[in-house]
């Protein structure tokens, strides 16, 4: 068999096996379990740690010029959906 046809054929065979099985269905995704009205505690400033921007920037600068490690420190990753 032509090598280029092996992978598509295998995929089709797997799909056929899955779709041919009557009990098969894609897993049901969980519903969001924390509702917006339940996020009052997450929105409290106490949950932001030491996140005042200038203060965090100064501390990071002090450390990054003295350590070999760097990165993954800024306020990335977004918030808590609770603004």
């Amino acid at each position: 068999m032509n090598k280029a046809r092996v992978l598509p054929t295998a995929l089709l065979a797997c799909s056929a096996a899955l779709s041919g099985c009557s009990s098969f269905s894609l897993p049901k995704m969980p519903e969001p379990w924390v509702k917006p009205y339940e996020r009052e505690r997450l929105a409290d400033p106490i949950m932001k740690g030491s996140a005042d921007p200038l203060s965090a920037r100064h501390r990071e600068h002090v450390l990054v010029v003295r350590e070999g490690a760097r990165g993954a420190n800024s306020a990335q990753g977004g918030g808590c959906g609770c603004n």
């Binding site: 779709s19 969001p32 917006p36 106490i46 200038l54 070999g68 800024s74 990753g77 959906g81």
Partner: protein, 373 residues
């Protein structure tokens, strides 16, 4: 095409439709709540770092203001006035003073569940300038319980050397960020961040010296470096107006440095106007491949930069925040003081004045006023 293959192919679109529907429902569920712009803010900070013969202090200012609830503009200004008599300086040169000034300007756009941020940055000191452009995008989904963030920064530094006009080099930087924040419970958040940084150009210090057979030679660093940092963080409200946080970062790079950072903190309200915060940080790293305290062979690359040597540091600090004025729905003003003490212990860097392994203590002080409105 065989009949079996035709039947399989005819079922595929249905399967794909179901998968797409599942993904769509994941992204759309609870999507009625739109992302919000960062809070309007004005902040004025005075900072001091003192340790290891170096004192750096100065003011910093930040202003952020939104327009029409769609766009937020921000600008900041930061000054470091440095008086440097560090061990490197006193053992190979003369103490000096210099000033570093940096500015940045940013704009954030909010659209439904997405936030896009762009910023430009410039830092300037007599023999070093840095310019950078950043683009960040974050999107909330899964009922606003999950936030994914992507970021990119492109930087260009120009490196000069005082009293040597012919020295003129550059360093280019590429930073790629990926972050995920998840609401776990009504009182707990977790996040994971990955950042990859690549550099190309002059990555050393034209004034720094290395030691080979006890003799002083200019350091020679590789001209490329790529690093990766992966951080996990969790923060939880413990109830009764207490919160605790913990984070761990693992770092590794192409210079063979590996580092672990562990940080933990605890915050609590005291009365209605005070917020107290205590934190501790432990950091440990290994030597870069070409680092040597005193090399005993000639190599292509050689450095005695203690930033690239094996060391560990331990910090402990506290922060006290006082809400001086609060007008609900209008503005809030806080006065904050923070102090941290950090001890640095070098494993493989000798203080040539004493013959002992070098160590020093540093103090970090911040006093600031911050207003949100």
């Amino acid at each position: 095409m065989a009949a079996t293959e035709i039947r399989i192919a005819s079922r595929l679109p249905g399967l794909l439709r179901r998968a797409a529907g599942l993904l769509g429902s994941l992204l759309a569920v609870g999507g009625a709540k739109a992302i919000e712009l960062p809070e309007n803010r004005a902040e004025a900070l005075y900072h001091v770092y003192k340790g290891g013969g170096v004192t750096a202090d100065g003011p910093a200012l930040l202003v952020r203001k939104s327009l029409a609830d769609k766009v937020s503009l921000s600008g900041s200004y930061y000054v470091d006035a440095v008086s440097n008599a560090s061990i490197d300086v006193v053992t190979t040169a003369s103490p000096f003073k210099e000033k570093r000034t940096s500015y940045d300007l940013g704009v954030d756009f909010a659209h439904r569940d997405s936030l896009m941020s762009m910023s430009v940055y410039r830092s300037k000191e007599p023999d070093y300038t840095s310019d950078a452009f950043s683009l960040d995008l974050s999107h909330e989904f899964f009922g606003n319980m999950t936030t994914i963030a992507l970021g990119y920064t492109r930087g260009l530094d120009k490196v000069f050397k005082k009293n040597e006009v012919s020295f003129n080099d550059y360093a280019k930087h590429w930073q790629y960020r990926l972050g995920l924040t998840q609401v776990l419970t009504p009182s707990m958040l977790a996040s994971a961040n990955l950042e990859v940084v690549s550099d190309d150009g002059y990555l050393g210090n034209p004034y720094r010296a290395a030691r080979v057979f006890g003799a002083t030679v200019p350091e020679r660093n590789p001209r490329t470096r790529t690093s990766r940092a992966l951080k996990f963080r969790v923060i939880g409200d413990l109830g009764n107006r207490n919160a605790a946080r913990a984070e761990y970062r693992y770092f590794w790079d192409t210079w063979a440095i590996k580092a672990h950072t562990l940080e933990a903190g605890y915050s609590r309200y005291v009365g209605s106007d005070w917020l107290a915060d205590g934190f501790t940080r432990f950091y440990k790293q290994s030597d870069a491949l070409f680092y040597s305290d005193n090399a005993t062979s000639e190599t292509t690359y050689i450095s005695r930069n203690r930033q690239l040597s094996a060391f560990r540091s331990f910090g402990i600090g506290g922060k006290l925040s006082y809400t001086a004025k609060r007008v609900p729905g209008q503005y809030e003003m806080k006065i904050v003081g923070s102090i941290e003490r950090i001890r640095f212990d070098y494993k493989n860097f000798t203080d040539i004045r004493t013959g002992q392994a070098y160590m020093f203590n540093a103090n970090l002080l911040q006093l600031y006023v911050t207003a949100t409105y």
